[in-house]
């Protein structure tokens, strides 16, 4: 006989979710802008949960239908899981779609109960970092939408420290900076929204600034990477010249071109 306690358990936990802050009520423009972002990091956005933030929109007195926004998001493979900052009408629409509404306190936190998968895969150690909530350049005028990586509850973005070798087939995603003390094998993939530091040999794929941070950089002591990318601009090992192969280098973006410089 199964007792009720062995069937389920309630646990309270927090988890991270991207927040989609809308600045425009032009649905087509939003979709276009999102699609561009998805194309840059398809794996990251596929089936990604998303919280729709309507505060900025309502501040500017622009109205949008939550039903239409949610429909569009689902169509492109994202899962809206919450709405905040909406007006009465928008909250009603959200409820109709079974999407929870956040009360919208300032500095609010949306706490969801879920078995948030902890990333035990790799021994990680989070380091406190005074970094700002998000390191993207805010330019609301030019973009119809912006994805801010907001942590809930608000806490500084942590950098991730990996001390074990990153083996072929392993993937690591850091929401801030990623620091790897061991080698990164061919066939491994390391990604960070911020900078990537590898204090060893980098043989796998390294993608920095995957959320569009064009100022992110990659540093490594021994460059033998299969692929390097910053904010979607990439180079494969074929295009890495002999002079910088197996050298300590830094890699940054300048006018959409990857610059690889040896660190003397």
């Amino acid at each position: 006989m199964t007792t009720s306690s062995s069937v389920l358990e309630f646990k309270s936990s927090t988890f991270f979710s991207p927040i989609l802050i809308l600045y425009s009520n032009d649905l087509a423009a939003i979709e276009q802008s999102l699609q561009d972002k998805i194309n840059r990091a398809p794996d990251f956005f596929k089936n990604s949960p998303l919280i729709i933030d309507l505060r900025e929109l309502n501040k500017s007195g622009l109205d949008i239908s939550v039903i239409e926004v949610a429909g569009m998001l689902r169509k492109i493979g994202m899962f809206p899981i919450g709405v905040r900052g909406g007006n009465e009408q928008q909250d009603k629409q959200a409820h109709k779609l079974s999407i929870p509404v956040d009360a919208g306190r300032e500095n609010d936190s949306i706490v969801a109960t879920s078995a948030a998968a902890s990333r035990k895969e790799i021994e990680t150690q989070a380091l406190e970092q005074d970094s700002v909530e998000n390191n993207e350049i805010r330019n609301p005028a030019s973009s119809a939408s912006r994805i801010a990586s907001v942590s809930t509850p608000p806490e500084p973005v942590r950098s991730m420290l990996i001390t074990q070798p990153v083996r072929s087939g392993q993937r690591i995603y850091a929401r801030g900076d990623l620091i790897v003390m061991s080698q990164v094998s061919a066939g491994a993939e390391i990604m960070a929204e911020g900078n990537i530091h590898v204090y060893n040999t980098l043989r796998g794929r390294a993608l920095a600034g995957v959320q569009g941070n064009t100022t992110a950089r990659i540093f490594c002591l021994d460059l033998q990477a299969e692929l390097i990318s910053i904010s979607g601009d990439y180079k494969t090992s074929e295009h890495l010249t002999e002079q910088i192969q197996k050298r300590p280098v830094q890699i940054y973006l300048q006018d959409h071109a990857l610059i690889i410089k040896e660190i003397a």
């Binding site: 035990k120 074990q164 072929s168 392993q170 094998s185």
Partner: protein, 270 residues
């Protein structure tokens, strides 16, 4: 409590079963009660290498399903009474193994044995995963060749993330490197990766280098673990591996091309 050793590689044909048989025999010969389990359900080989294929009545899957007791299925080795073999089923497939069932059998065996050697199937699918899940130590068998090194690297990643020790956040599985089918003359001529090239990528504690040797094949065919062929280089190399695993300090042998000019000229056994 037994120490559970998984012999794994990712790639097939590198010498996992040969190694499993040799080290299990090596440990048992030194007086440690040892069991060796064939996880390659559907393609059982270990019993052939151990020379006990004609004494198989029950197998690993029977024990998991409760159709036979452990004592009924375990085969005592004819050369060493401290060594037992748990053969795989030839008529089933890997789905017959369950994580829970394997755990139960290993737990029961742990009461009785000092070492349990798990001979992993090739690949990274269910059989290989189950073989490594409960491991305390991993012998990563690698050939000096790029695809084998890459597969071993992948296996190490799985060991570091999917094993029970990783899931429970315990001390990680201890990983050792075993370089097999090593041919010093081909390394010298650049046809084969050297130890340094392999360690450059894997950087593991080296347990030993097993030279390519004809005695491995003849031992397999005869059903006698090659470690019992004390005259062969491979047998001696495995003996060193077992000694190093148990904490002895032994110099590395068989890594230099020792063949003299005349033997090179006229060929001859390496």
């Amino acid at each position: 409590m037994a120490r559970i050793i998984v012999v794994t590689s990712g790639k097939g044909g590198v010498g996992k079963t040969t190694t499993s048989a040799a080290i299990a025999m090596g440990l048992a010969k030194r007086g440690h009660k040892t069991a060796v389990i064939d996880f390659d359900v559907g393609l059982r080989n270990l019993d052939l290498i151990m020379g006990c294929e004609r004494r198989v009545v029950y197998d690993f899957v029977n024990v998991i399903n409760g159709e036979a007791s452990l004592n009924q299925a375990l085969i005592r080795d004819k050369n060493c009474n401290q060594l037992y073999i748990l053969p795989a089923s030839q008529t089933r497939d890997k789905d017959a193994l369950t994580l829970e069932g394997v755990g139960r059998v290993l737990e029961e065996m742990s009461k009785d044995f000092q070492y349990i050697v798990c001979d992993s199937p090739a690949g990274i699918e269910k059989g290989a995963y189950l073989a490594l899940y409960y491991a305390d130590d991993a012998f990563v068998v690698t050939n000096p060749e790029v695809s084998s090194v890459r597969d071993s690297d992948r296996m190490l990643g799985i060991l570091a993330s999917k094993s029970r020790r990783a899931e429970r956040n315990e001390e990680p599985v201890k990983e050792y490197l075993l370089l097999t089918r090593y041919d010093p003359s081909r390394v010298k001529s650049g046809e084969m990766l050297g130890l340094d090239d392999v360690q450059d990528i894997l950087s593991l504690q080296l347990l030993g280098i097993i030279p390519e040797s004809k005695s491995v094949l003849s031992a397999s065919n005869a059903g006698i673990p090659v470690i019992l062929d004390e005259k062969s280089e491979a047998g001696q190399a495995y003996e060193d591996v077992v000694a190093r695993y148990l904490g002895e300090d032994r110099p590395l042998r068989f890594i230099d091309d020792k063949r003299g000019f005349f033997r090179k000229l006229f060929g001859g056994r390496s």
